[in-house]
């Protein structure tokens, strides 16, 4: 065992870290319990609580920097205890949770402010902010828990908030269905997650992060593999990775700020957090790492391919999120130094993807909720701030130097080429290909939306820029999109070393500079191709297409597969059982009951007049009791 993980008790300012969770939680409770009485000011309370949490998060961050042991825990009360099992309602503030807290509250605050404007005309705005605050509180529990049960508590809490917000406009059947789908697919991952917790307890007798980290070396490799696969399945559910990917694009049924905060910047990165937090488990088994890397590489390609074929601005961005989180999974799967790189990409992605979604929301706001990019075009003239901020985020995500995405994505591609065997080529090339595809679909999206001829429907006369309460967050996120990657790629991995360890990097199969040049080249090719194809706009009607494009339009048949393999047979099984339970089991048991009661004729008679039958049953019972006791009394049995 190299070193023992030990958490110091929280003191000073850090002993108030429970407030990080409590502030948004109390605000959510107030907004949801007060009802319409809070309609006038509810949204401001919502913003205020998240803003206050951000300030507290910053102060806590600086307090943590001054600590000798940069892992501080606060056990609030005994949560669940039985026999030798015990977990506390405990929080852990360490470098990894600190960066997540800043991302969640910081970007979360900007999106809250934006939503004040975006949801202004929605009668459910207060309810929206209640759910939004609930989400922030749950997400903070997820990243602040000091044991797996606490993580799971937050994990399910964000799942609930996600469900509530996807189906926020619940009158729309599609929104209700999408919310349910998200919850159900997540539950599959959740079941795997809890089984992993059971396995930890059965094997190690503890589910606290420190206890597990210190004992993980005692596990057999088979158990470690099983444990990791279960956690991975949980992570794929929350993060919309293969095979549990299909819910995420449908989640776009929710209001756009929801897509920005929950389904792009924070919640869907929960899976990456879980794997990074459990790095001691994943590092311990190379087969496990290979599986994670494969899931990441496969998903980043799936997301990018489907993203190229979509016409709904939010769905393109959703598949893009799937693809970008694939890069993060690739990173945490590669392990070693790439853990930190994945986190850097996660943070950078939080900025530019939030910016892209909010930009998309701003476009929809000015275009009567139109989402079809074939119906946009030339919007740069009408919404200049949205155009510029969206443009910067676009350049950031495709990874053009010196913007954010370049610094965060390119190192992951390099790390993929650093694998020890031939798989370096496999995953390296997949990551490069993904970069090219990303450049293609994002450029297509950008060109069709803001440039080329206008293709609007007649009902839109004056596209307009959004009010300042929406554009100011856009500008701030754009600044982040430009600068975050370059600023973070150096210090953040160093900051995360206590949690994720520091490892010497391997030799890449290609020279570092060659990979960089290749990455920039595929980006330029992808972007250039999209520019040439779409600079003059596109047809507004669906075009005939080859097999691959058709497949991509149909989400590579993932939904069709789920429907044929799970949904249809499930419904059939349910119907069959309902039929059988009535006829079979009930009939058989009724038959037995009837014969015990003395023939089915009597049963039928019993059902006719209830008072008489009741009296008769009681009489029979009473007689039996008396007879039995008399029998015993006179020793007929003894």
């Amino acid at each position: 065992m190299e070193h023992t993980v030990q958490f110091a008790p929280a003191t000073g300012l850090l002993s108030g870290m429970w407030l990080l969770v409590a502030l948004p939680a109390v605000s959510a409770a107030v907004l949801l319990l007060l009802g319409r009485r809070a309609d006038r000011w509810g949204h401001w309370l919502g913003c205020l609580s998240v803003g206050a949490a951000f300030v507290l998060g910053l102060l806590s961050f600086f307090a943590l920097r001054g600590q000798e042991n940069r892992a501080v825990q606060l056990n609030l009360w005994e949560f669940i205890s039985a026999g030798s099992f015990r977990v506390d309602f405990g929080l852990l503030f360490d470098p990894l949770s600190a960066v997540f807290v800043l991302l969640i509250t910081g970007v979360g605050f900007l999106i809250h402010v934006y939503a004040v404007g975006y949801m202004e005309h929605d009668e459910g705005r207060r309810r929206f902010f209640g759910y939004f605050n609930l989400f922030v509180a749950a997400m903070l529990v997820l990243v602040l828990g000091n044991n797996y049960v606490m993580t799971f508590l937050g994990w399910e809490g964000v799942g609930l908030a996600s469900y509530l917000l996807i189906s926020f406009w619940y009158v729309r059947p599609s929104a209700a269905t999408a919310g349910k789908k998200a919850f159900l697919m997540n539950r599959v991952g959740d079941a795997a997650f809890v089984i992993a917790i059971f396995l930890l307890f059965a094997q190690l007798g503890t589910v606290n992060f420190d206890g597990v980290a210190n004992q993980v070396h005692t596990l057999s490799s088979g158990v470690t593999l099983m444990l990791g696969l279960l956690l991975l399945l949980g992570a794929t559910g929350k993060s919309g990775q293969f095979p549990l990917t299909a819910w995420l694009p449908d989640a776009m049924e929710g209001p756009t700020p929801v897509s920005a905060l929950i389904h792009a910047a924070t919640m869907v990165t929960g899976g990456v957090y879980l794997i990074a937090r459990s790095n001691f488990i994943f590092t311990a088994n190379s087969t496990l790492q290979l599986v994670v890397v494969s899931v990441g590489a496969l998903t980043l390609l799936i997301g990018a391919i489907i993203g190229c074929a979509k016409d709904d601005i939010k769905r393109v961005l959703a598949w893009s999120t799937v693809s970008q989180i694939g890069y993060m999974f690739l990173g945490v799967g590669l392990g070693g130094a790439a853990y930190a790189l994945a986190i850097v990409h996660l943070l950078a992605h939080g900025f530019f993807k939030a910016g892209l979604f909010l930009g998309a929301g701003s476009v929809m706001h000015g275009m009567r909720d139109q989402v079809d990019i074939r119906r946009f075009g030339g919007l740069w003239k009408y919404m200049k701030i949205t155009w510029v901020t969206f443009g910067l985020a676009w350049l950031a995500i495709i990874g053009l130097p010196p913007l954010s995405g370049f610094f965060s994505k390119e190192p992951i591609i390099v790390a993929a080429f650093e694998r020890k065997d031939w798989t370096a080529w496999l995953f390296g090339i997949a990551a490069l290909l993904g970069a090219g595809l990303t450049a293609f679909y994002m450029t297509r999206l950008f060109m069709l939306t803001f440039h080329g001829p206008k293709r609007w429907t007649d009902d839109i006369e004056h596209p307009h820029e959004s009010p300042p309460i929406m554009t100011i967050p856009l500008v701030l996120l754009a600044v982040g999109s430009v600068a975050a990657g370059g600023l973070m790629v150096g210090p953040v991995p160093k900051w995360l070393t206590p949690v994720l360890g520091h490892e010497v990097r391997g030799e890449a199969v290609l020279a570092h500079s060659a990979i960089t040049i290749l990455a920039i080249a595929v980006t330029l090719i992808g972007a250039g191709l999209a520019y040439l194809l779409f600079r003059d706009g596109t047809a507004t009607a669906p075009q005939p297409a080859g097999a691959l494009v058709t497949a991509a339009r149909k989400n590579l048949y993932i939904d069709a597969f789920n429907e044929a393999v799970f949904e249809k047979p499930g419904i059939f099984l349910t119907r069959a059982l309902v039929f059988l339970d009535g006829k079979g089991i009930d009939g058989a048991v009724n038959g037995i009951a009837a014969s015990v009661g003395g023939g089915s004729g009597r049963l039928r008679r019993l059902q006719t007049g209830f008072v008489r039958s009741y009296a008769m049953s009681m009489l029979t019972g009473a007689l039996l009791v008396v007879a039995a006791f008399l029998a015993v009394q006179y020793g007929w049995f003894a």
Partner: protein, 508 residues
């Protein structure tokens, strides 16, 4: 502190029932008020008992014993361990809320209002008795008498096929009761002519006799709980009973089955319990999956909730027969939490049904638009029912699965897949009733214009508060349950397995 809590708690509601029943039929409001006041007084007494109970003290407390039938050694013996205490408390908490929720239920059918509330109080009395009894014969008597008020509540005040449902309920229970009666007599004969629980625990039975006696008790409890495949009476009874009675039926009365297994089957017949555990686990696990699938397919809200309860009883069964401290504690906690969550769910469904005069899912649709608050409470109750973390049922389900995983991975993993199905039946029900476009028939319905009244808010608020409180801080209840479960596991001769890997000092 020698106040005879248990006998007073058993008798007090019965006196109340007589008083209420004697009130003139023409003054229904008075009957309601007296019944409500009485049940609140009983609740206050129960709270005093809860405070007087010493969590780390003797296994059985508040012991009272009075002679009854000396020839047979039958005595009125009452005593409560932690398991009984939490169930008594659950009854005391639920009853005033059920009375308040049933305020207008009896009037609708132009039936005798005072008798309805008298029946509820009488039911409370018998339920107190069954959980407080520490004499096997006394338990048996309460176990059977308990049927009578419930029979009339379903048969006289229910809806739909109420007479069929009531008779079916009665017959199933009676058949189970006969098995138990045979076993009770056998116990007396073989156990040294006594009905005293402690004396019978100390008695020794031959292996064969023990197994037969176990089966006699188990049959009664498995029907009562109910476990697959003895469950088919419950959807009929739950579907036909008035919502308040259904909440009591499923929330508390059925728990006598699982309570009986814990109090009688395990301690009295430890060898047989271990012998039959695989069978019981199999039935329980089938029940979880089977009933959940059936719940998905239901089109009647009350039947749907009944089926979810059968699935939940499967979880309790797994928890009991896993024989570990975690699973056992989880099972008992599940009995409490399920009473709160399913009780709430039944009451809320009742509020929907009262407005629409129909329990059919297809008669709703988009109700959230018309009744946002009530729809929100339905969602909350549904989420508690699917054991979402942050609600009380999560803690119990987690402990059941955790504890059973340490000894039987297959059972635990199959049972865990039940949580996916639970999300399925709850969310699909929510979607079909409250979401989507508003059903035109609803929009023109007079009842659907009124969201929750103050009375209805008062009914649900304490349950919601308890569910959230116990979801984050279950310690007050687990502290009471834990010692009793440990003692029961010691009775059955089971001990928790040690961690398979790991170093003991690092496990703290």
């Amino acid at each position: 502190m020698n106040f005879p809590f248990l006998s007073v708690l058993t008798v007090a509601p019965l006196v109340g029932a007589v008083v209420v029943a004697l009130l003139p039929r023409t003054r229904p409001a008075l009957a309601k008020q007296v019944a409500l006041g009485w049940s609140v007084a009983v609740l206050a007494l129960s709270v005093a008992m809860w405070i007087a109970y010493q969590a780390g003290g003797d296994r059985f407390q508040f012991r009272e014993s009075y002679p009854w039938i000396p020839n047979w050694g039958v005595r009125f013996t009452f005593a409560a361990d932690g398991i009984a205490l939490v169930m008594l408390m659950l009854i005391a908490v639920l009853m005033p809320l059920v009375i308040l929720a049933s305020w207008h239920d009896a009037e609708r059918g132009k039936r005798n209002v005072p008798v309805y509330f008298a029946l509820l109080l009488a039911l409370q009395s018998t339920m107190f008795g069954v959980f407080a009894a520490a004499d096997v014969f006394l338990f048996y008597v309460f176990f059977e008498v308990m049927l009578v008020p419930m029979y009339f509540l379903i048969g006289s005040y229910g809806g739909g096929k109420r007479q069929y449902a009531a008779v079916k309920f009665f017959l199933y229970s009676l058949v189970g009761g006969l098995f138990m009666l045979a076993a009770v007599i056998g116990l007396w004969v073989l156990g040294g002519h006594t009905f005293d629980w402690q004396a019978l625990v100390d008695a020794n039975f031959s292996t064969g006799a023990e197994r037969w006696l176990f089966l006699g008790f188990f049959a009664a409890f498995a029907i009562k709980a109910p476990f697959f495949p003895f469950h088919t009476w419950l959807p009929d009874a739950g579907g036909a009973a008035p919502a308040g009675a259904a909440a009591i039926l499923v929330g508390v009365l059925d728990k006598v089955g699982t309570f009986g297994i814990l109090r009688y089957c395990l301690p009295l017949f430890p060898e047989a319990s271990r012998y039959f555990a695989p069978l019981a686990l199999t039935l329980a696990v089938i029940g979880i999956i089977y009933a959940a699938l059936l719940a998905v397919g239901q089109n009647d809200l009350k039947r749907l909730v009944s089926y979810t309860s059968i699935a939940h009883f499967g979880f309790i069964g797994v928890g009991i027969f896993a024989f570990t401290t975690q699973a056992g504690t989880g099972a008992v906690l599940y009995m409490v939490n399920h009473g709160l969550a399913t009780g709430l769910l039944f009451l809320v469904v009742g509020m929907f049904v009262a407005r629409r005069n129909s329990a059919l899912v297809s008669d709703f649709g988009g109700a959230g638009k018309l009744l946002p608050l009530l729809a929100g409470v339905l969602l909350f109750a549904g989420l508690a029912s699917l054991a979402l973390p942050g609600t009380a049922p999560f803690v119990s389900e987690f402990l059941v699965l955790l504890g059973s995983f340490t000894v039987n991975k297959t059972v635990a993993v199959i049972a865990t897949s039940g949580i996916i199905l639970a999300a399925g039946y709850v969310l699909w029900m929510i979607q079909r009733t409250t979401q989507g476009t508003v059903n035109p028939a609803l929009a023109s319905n007079e009842g659907m214009r009124h969201d929750m009244s103050l009375r209805e808010k008062v009914v649900v608020a304490p349950l919601i508060a308890l569910i959230v409180l116990l979801g984050f801080y279950p310690k007050p209840v687990t502290d009471v349950i834990n010692p009793a479960v440990k003692a029961t596991m010691a009775d059955v001769g089971a001990s928790d397995p040690a961690p398979a890997a790991g170093t003991t000092e690092a496990a703290r």
